[in-house]
Point group: C2
């Protein structure tokens, strides 16, 4: 099996760097799908998958919004992950897990293992407990061609509380990235990118470039594009030129592409799917206009 | 409904400070229960609950070891939580969740909400993303008489990587505890203890006393007692004298009480239950010998 970084880079080259966040917020699931029930979020998530296929390379279900429905919600997550992989999409389970060794093994098997119940391509993890707690995830990733995405700098206001605070001359998030250097090297793939990614919700282009300098080989998962407020230029600030395009990870959009106003008005599935497709195409085009040509398109390079 | 801290303090006064960790490790579930399957871990976990009832006041299922079995594993977690609450035990879901606001709301509802699918009394959470990400948990805890247990200092070797590093004159874990002061005050209950607890895996008595000084009102969830190596004296180092006993939280033991060697040899359920009960009684007695009298016992005070 190929490594995760090669699959991710390949899909970004082909279609653009957009990652479609699948976040079943309470009260937002259209009646078309049965509303906010385990069945409803399963059908809605699979609807998003069907709309995204061929337009984006990667999707990111937000586990907490499935888990709130209990075991049946986790069944819906399983459905959505399976549908996405069948449709040829890469799947990031946004689980933000982290625990001591033996328990981390449980989470690593749940998301990255051979026959993982929540079969995905990569999972997000929290580094607070220390590098040893990431080891079970790294091991499964290495063995099975999966990715591990470590929270470094998140995009919420409270990320300033600890992540941005100085720890002996550099902010905590930089210390996390520095401590990950051996893991980034260990998961380096033939694409020139590692399957150890970083959540890099930079507050501005300077911080994004600083993160890039600290970890030249780690792709970024960039949150905060679209509804959360940042534009394409900010989102791509940590990307680097490779050939005729900017590379460096994926940029997530959730609400702006899965709950666009145009979809609220959709009276049937075809209209809803068209609305989601148009929103995905617009976001992808916005990013590609700056990141440069996809393999199937011309060579317009912005930036 | 009473506040979590009152229920926890009451149970510790009655029975002692032992918390029984329910960690279904792969390869450790006895054949008696059907082995390492969703059904097997459900039956085993409920067996531990039945053995613990009346002997310990609180149990702590380790979510990752259920989640590795997918939705059916989460169903088993649900079974174990329900059985524990029916048996009058308090339940800490050791989930170590954490995410930005809207997703954190999902997790908070999953574990602490009214009609939460994983109905428990408290949940462990990770502070890395910042105080705002804990707010949804605090809100559910306040509304529903639940507890929130924040990772401060964990007991794994890698906890030195970030938690113990200096951040402007104090280690990160101390900065986390300081930042939690308003939340600790907000969840303060009539017992004189807050329903905001801290995971306090102190490496020694000095650090435990430092943590206690930083957060006089926050009960500790102390990991690392028993199989992980520390003795009762270390485990209780952050407890304080109240009346004729030491109070300050609960002390978790998992493997030493749920997988004692005596249980491996048990040929039937009665023998297995006796072995677990004996292990729980021994751990509880070891802790009570130092922490002081339970309400139903004499007034032997060590320490």
């Amino acid at each position: 099996m190929s490594d995760f970084a090669s699959r991710m880079t390949g899909s970004a080259r082909r279609l653009g760097p957009l990652c479609v966040g699948i976040d079943p917020h309470p009260g937002r699931i259209p009646d078309l799908f049965g509303g906010d029930t385990p069945d409803g979020i399963s059908r809605w998530g699979r609807g998003v998958v069907a709309a995204a296929a061929g337009r984006a390379g990667i999707v990111k279900p937000q586990v907490g919004l499935f888990e709130r429905h209990g075991p049946e919600g986790m069944r819906a997550l399983q459905d959505v992950c399976a549908a996405a992989r069948e449709a040829g999409l890469l799947v990031i389970a946004d689980a933000k897990r982290g625990d001591i060794g033996s328990t981390a093994e449980g989470y690593a098997r749940a998301y990255l293992g051979v026959d993982a119940p929540f079969a995905c391509d990569a999972v997000t993890v929290n580094p607070y407990m220390g590098i040893d707690t990431l080891e079970p995830f790294l091991r499964e990733a290495e063995a099975n061609g999966k990715g591990v995405i470590v929270l470094a700098r998140t995009s919420n206001p409270g990320s300033a509380d600890f992540q941005a605070k100085d720890m002996g001359g550099a902010p905590l998030y930089a210390r996390v990235v520095q401590a990950l250097a051996p893991a980034i090297a260990r998961l380096m793939g033939p694409s020139g990118w590692s399957s150890l990614m970083l959540v890099a919700g930079a507050t501005g282009p300077d911080e994004a470039r600083e993160l890039r300098a600290l970890a030249p080989g780690a792709p970024f998962l960039v949150p905060g594009y679209g509804a959360q407020g940042s534009g394409a230029r900010d989102a791509l600030a940590g990307f680097v030129r490779r050939g005729n395009r900017l590379e460096g990870g994926v940029v997530n959009a959730s609400r702006s592409v899965t709950f666009p106003a145009s979809a609220d008005a959709a009276g049937d599935m075809a209209a809803w799917t068209s609305a989601i497709r148009a929103a995905i195409d617009a976001a992808q085009a916005d990013l590609v206009a700056l990141s440069g040509a996809t393999e199937n398109a011309g060579s317009v390079i912005g930036g």
